[in-house]
C-alpha cells in the first residue's frame, strides 16, 4: 500500500496527538467498563489494554460481552460506567463518527456493505477530510473543481487498495452482489481507506472459506508490519492461537484471563469457562 496523499486531516488535533504520544503506552485502554441493558449486565467492569502495533485477540463464550464491549468502544453504545482511552485521549461516550475520525475504525460481525452502491462507491465513501462532503462545495461551480481533483486522487488510492485485497475485478459490481467473504474483504479495504491507527475486527473470519481466510490473515500480518494495530473478536481458536500475540479472555462481562496463547491454553479457569463449568 502506498501513501498516496490525502488532504490534510480535517481536525488538526490528530497531528498534534501524533507528536506527543509515546510509543510504548497502550494505544487503547479500557478501564472498568460497564454496560447494562435493563436488568442484564452485559459488560461488568472489564479492563484491558491493547499494545500499539499488535494483533490482539478478544475471545470468550457466547454472551461474554465481547460485542457489547466493541460497541461501547466505538460509540454505538454509551457505557454506564468506566472509560475508554484511545491514543492518550478519552473517547468514552463519543459518537461513532467521532471515534472513527480519531483513527479507531471497526468492521462488523455481519459485513455491513452498502448493497446498492458499487464496490468503488463503497470505497470512495471512506476517506477522511473529503472537501466534497460539504454541500456548497459539491454544488458551487468553482469550488467543485477542487472536489473533482481530490476525487481523482482518492480514486487512485481506492483502486490500489482493491488490488491489495484482490477484489479489483469486482470494482464496478454492486456490493450487494458480492459473496459473504468478498464483503468481508470489502469492509476491511474500506476501513483501511479511512487511514485508521487501529482496526477493530468483529469476527472477520466468520463465514469465510479456508483459502480466503488464509489470504485475509496474510493481509492482516502485512498491515501489522506497516504499523497498524488490530483487535479482533473471533471464535476460530486456530486463528486466535496462531496469529494473536496477546489474547484477552472475557467471561460474564469481565476479563477472565490475559496473556500469550500458551498462557491461555494452560489456564484452568479459561478451560472451565469454555467447557461450561459451574456458573
Amino acid at each position: 500500500m502506498s501513501d498516496v496523499e490525502t488532504e490534510a486531516p480535517a481536525d488538526e488535533q490528530t497531528t498534534t496527538e501524533t507528536e506527543r504520544r509515546s510509543t510504548d503506552a497502550p494505544i487503547l485502554e479500557i478501564r472498568d467498563l460497564e454496560k447494562r441493558f435493563g436488568g442484564i449486565v452485559a459488560v461488568d467492569g472489564a479492563s484491558f489494554g491493547v499494545e500499539r502495533g499488535s494483533i490482539t485477540g478478544l475471545i470468550g463464550p457466547n454472551g461474554a460481552g465481547k460485542s457489547t464491549t466493541f460497541n461501547c468502544i466505538t460509540g454505538v453504545h454509551t457505557p454506564n460506567a468506566g472509560s475508554v482511552v484511545f491514543d492518550g485521549e478519552e473517547i468514552t461516550g463519543l459518537e461513532p463518527h467521532e471515534v472513527a475520525n480519531r483513527g479507531l475504525v471497526r468492521t462488523f460481525q455481519i459485513a455491513r456493505e452498502f448493497p446498492e452502491m458499487t464496490v468503488l462507491e463503497n470505497m470512495m465513501l471512506a476517506p477522511k477530510g473529503q472537501l466534497g462532503e460539504s454541500l456548497w462545495r459539491s454544488v458551487a461551480p468553482v469550488a467543485r473543481g477542487e472536489v473533482v481533483e481530490q476525487e481523482e486522487r482518492m480514486r487512485e488510492r481506492a483502486w490500489e487498495t482493491l488490488e491489495f485485497f484482490e477484489i479489483d475485478h469486482l470494482a464496478e459490481e454492486y456490493a450487494g452482489n458480492l459473496s459473504g467473504g468478498q464483503r468481508k474483504l470489502l469492509e476491511m479495504a474500506r476501513a483501511l481507506l479511512t487511514d485508521p491507527e487501529m482496526l477493530l475486527l468483529d469476527e472477520p473470519m466468520a463465514g469465510v472459506n479456508p483459502s480466503l481466510e488464509k489470504k485475509l490473515l496474510g493481509h492482516i500480518h502485512e498491515l501489522q508490519a506497516e504499523g497498524y494495530t488490530f483487535l479482533l473478536v473471533e471464535h476460530d481458536m486456530d486463528v486466535i492461537m496462531n496469529h494473536c500475540e496477546h489474547i484477552i479472555v472475557m467471561h460474564q462481562g469481565a476479563v477472565l484471563a490475559e496473556g500469550t496463547a500458551d498462557d491461555i491454553t494452560s489456564n484452568e479457569e479459561v478451560i472451565e469457562a469454555y467447557l461450561g463449568g459451574d456458573v
Binding site: 475504525v105 456493505e113 479511512t194
Partner: protein, 448 residues
C-alpha cells in the same frame, strides 16, 4: 448492422446528460403525438388540444419539481417524508402572506414577489429544521408518521379560524418599537395574493400588464398561436409553464450535482446503512438535517410555483393526497434517479392525471353518455347489450376510478419493473469517473 443499431451506437457515444435530454424529449413528443392523433381523430379542435398539452406540461412540470425534491429525501437519503404537502403549504402560505395587499382580506405585508418567494423557501427550510431535530432520531417508519402528522397540523392550522387574521408586533424592545402588522391565513376561504404567473405577463407584455403592448417574445408567441387558432390565454399560461420548465432544469442541475458528488455519496450511504456510514466517520445527523432542509426549501418553492399560480392559496390544495400523488410520480419514474423523477412526473401528469380527463371530454363530445344513477342500472342495461350506460357511469365517476387506475398501474409496474422506469440505472455517486480507464467522452464534470 441495422439502422437501429447505428442509432443506439451513436447514442451510446454521447454523454449521459444528452441521452437523458433525448430520452425525456422523446417521451414527451411521443405522448403529444398520441394525444394529437387521438384528439384529431375524434374531432377535437386544435385550440383544446393545445390547451390539453399546456395542462399536461404544467402538471408534468410541477410534479417533476416536487418529485425531484422528494427524490432527494427519499430516493437518495432514504428519509421517508410523507409530509410533502405540508412543506409546500408553508412555502406557498409564507409567500402569500408576505405579498398579499395590506388592505386585502386577509391582509398581507404587500412585499415584492421575489421577497415572498425567497421568504417562502426560507420558511419551509426552517420548518424542515424544526421537524428534523426530533424526527431524525426516530426510526424510518416513525419518521414517516411524524412528517405526515406535521403536514396535517400545518393544514389544519391554515384552516383554523383563530389564524384567519391576526396582529403581530406593536411592542417595544428598549428604544426599538416594532410596528403592528396585520397578517392572516384567511382560514378556510384562503388567501388572495399576487399570483406567481405574473412572470408570464412580464415576459409577454411591455410593462407587465396583461392587455398592454406585447413584447418581442409576446409578438412571436401570439403570432404563432393566432396562426394555429390558439387563444391568447392558453399562450399566456403556456409561457408560465415554460418558466416552470426552466425551474425543473434548475432543480435537475442542482440535484444532479449533488448526486454526483461526495455529499451525494454520503446520502446514499445513509440510505443503505446509516450505522456503517457513521462507523466510517461520517456525521450522518448533520448531513440528514442539511439535506432535509434543502429538500424542504425545494418543496416550498415547488408549492409556491404550483399553488401560488392560482388566484387563491387555500388549505384544500394541500391535502395529504397531494403527497401520495407525488410519491406515485416518483415511484413510476424510479426513485433514486433524477431523470426518472422528471419522466415520472410527466408520465403521471399525462396518463394518470390529464389522460382520463381528455378521454372524458372526447367521450362527452362524441357520444350521448349520461351516467345512470347507480352502477346497478349500468350493469342492468349491459345485460340488454347496451354498453353506453356503463361507459357513461365510468366517465361520470372518473375522478374516483382514477384511484383504481393508479393502483393498477402501480401493481403492474411493481411486477414488471420494480425499480420504476429508470430506477435500475447505475448512477455512480462521484464527482469524477471512477473507472480506471477514463471514458473517451466527458463524464459530466464540465456541464455547468
Amino acid at each position: 448492422m441495422t439502422a437501429r443499431d447505428d442509432v443506439s451506437e451513436a447514442l451510446s457515444r454521447q454523454p449521459q446528460w444528452i441521452r437523458d435530454v433525448l430520452l425525456v424529449g422523446g417521451i414527451v413528443l411521443a405522448t403529444y403525438a398520441l394525444f394529437a392523433v387521438v384528439g384529431l381523430a375524434f374531432g377535437v379542435g386544435v385550440n383544446s388540444i393545445v390547451g390539453t398539452f399546456q395542462q399536461i406540461t404544467f402538471f408534468a412540470a410541477v410534479y417533476a419539481l416536487t418529485a425531484l425534491a422528494l427524490n432527494l429525501h427519499w430516493g437518495y437519503t432514504g428519509l421517508f417524508n410523507i409530509g410533502v404537502a405540508g412543506f409546500m403549504a408553508v412555502g406557498a402560505y409564507t409567500m402569500a402572506m408576505l405579498t398579499a395587499a395590506p388592505d386585502g382580506s386577509p391582509p398581507g405585508l404587500g412585499l415584492p414577489l421575489i421577497v415572498g418567494v425567497v421568504g417562502g423557501m426560507i420558511a419551509a427550510a426552517a420548518v424542515g429544521f424544526v421537524a428534523a431535530l426530533p424526527a431524525l432520531r426516530v426510526r424510518a417508519d416513525y419518521f414517516a408518521i411524524v412528517t405526515l402528522g406535521l403536514s396535517e397540523i400545518i393544514r389544519r392550522a391554515m384552516l383554523s379560524r383563530s389564524l384567519r387574521s391576526f396582529e403581530l408586533g406593536g411592542y417595544s424592545i428598549g428604544s426599538i418599537t416594532v410596528p403592528t402588522v396585520e397578517l392572516g391565513t384567511g382560514g378556510g376561504s384562503g388567501i388572495r395574493a399576487p399570483s406567481t404567473d405574473v412572470i408570464a405577463n412580464y415576459l409577454l407584455f411591455a410593462g407587465g400588464e396583461r392587455g398592454g403592448d406585447p413584447t418581442i417574445l409576446g409578438d412571436v408567441l401570439f403570432g404563432l398561436g393566432g396562426a394555429l387558432g390558439v387563444t391568447r390565454s392558453i399562450m399566456i399560461q403556456g409561457t408560465y409553464t415554460l418558466v416552470l420548465i426552466g425551474f425543473v432544469v434548475a432543480f435537475y442541475v442542482l440535484l444532479t450535482r449533488i448526486a454526483y458528488s461526495p455529499f451525494g455519496r454520503v446520502l446514499k450511504a445513509i440510505r443503505e446503512d446509516e450505522l456503517a456510514a457513521r462507523s466510517l466517520g461520517k456525521n450522518t445527523n448533520r448531513t440528514k438535517i442539511k439535506v432535509f432542509m434543502l429538500g424542504c426549501a425545494l418543496m416550498g418553492l415547488a408549492g409556491i410555483l404550483w399553488q401560488g399560480s392560482r388566484t387563491l392559496v387555500s388549505p384544500n390544495n394541500f391535502m395529504p393526497i397531494v403527497t401520495f400523488y407525488i410519491f406515485v410520480a416518483l415511484i413510476v419514474g424510479g426513485s433514486g434517479s433524477n431523470t426518472g423523477s422528471i419522466v415520472g412526473g410527466f408520465v403521471f401528469a399525462a396518463f394518470l392525471w390529464e389522460g382520463p380527463r381528455f378521454i372524458r371530454s372526447i367521450a362527452r363530445a362524441n357520444f350521448d353518455v349520461r351516467a345512470p344513477p347507480t352502477i346497478y342500472d349500468a350493469f342492468a342495461s349491459l345485460g340488454s347489450f347496451d354498453p353506453m350506460p356503463l361507459v357513461g357511469y365510468l366517465i361520470g365517476s372518473l375522478d374516483e376510478i382514477r384511484f383504481i387506475f393508479i393502483g393498477v398501474v402501480l401493481i403492474v409496474l411493481m411486477i414488471w419493473r420494480p425499480d420504476g422506469l429508470l430506477g435500475h440505472r447505475k448512477e455512480i455517486a462521484a464527482a469524477t469517473d471512477l473507472s480506471r480507464r477514463p471514458a473517451v467522452t466527458d463524464g459530466g464534470e464540465t456541464d455547468e
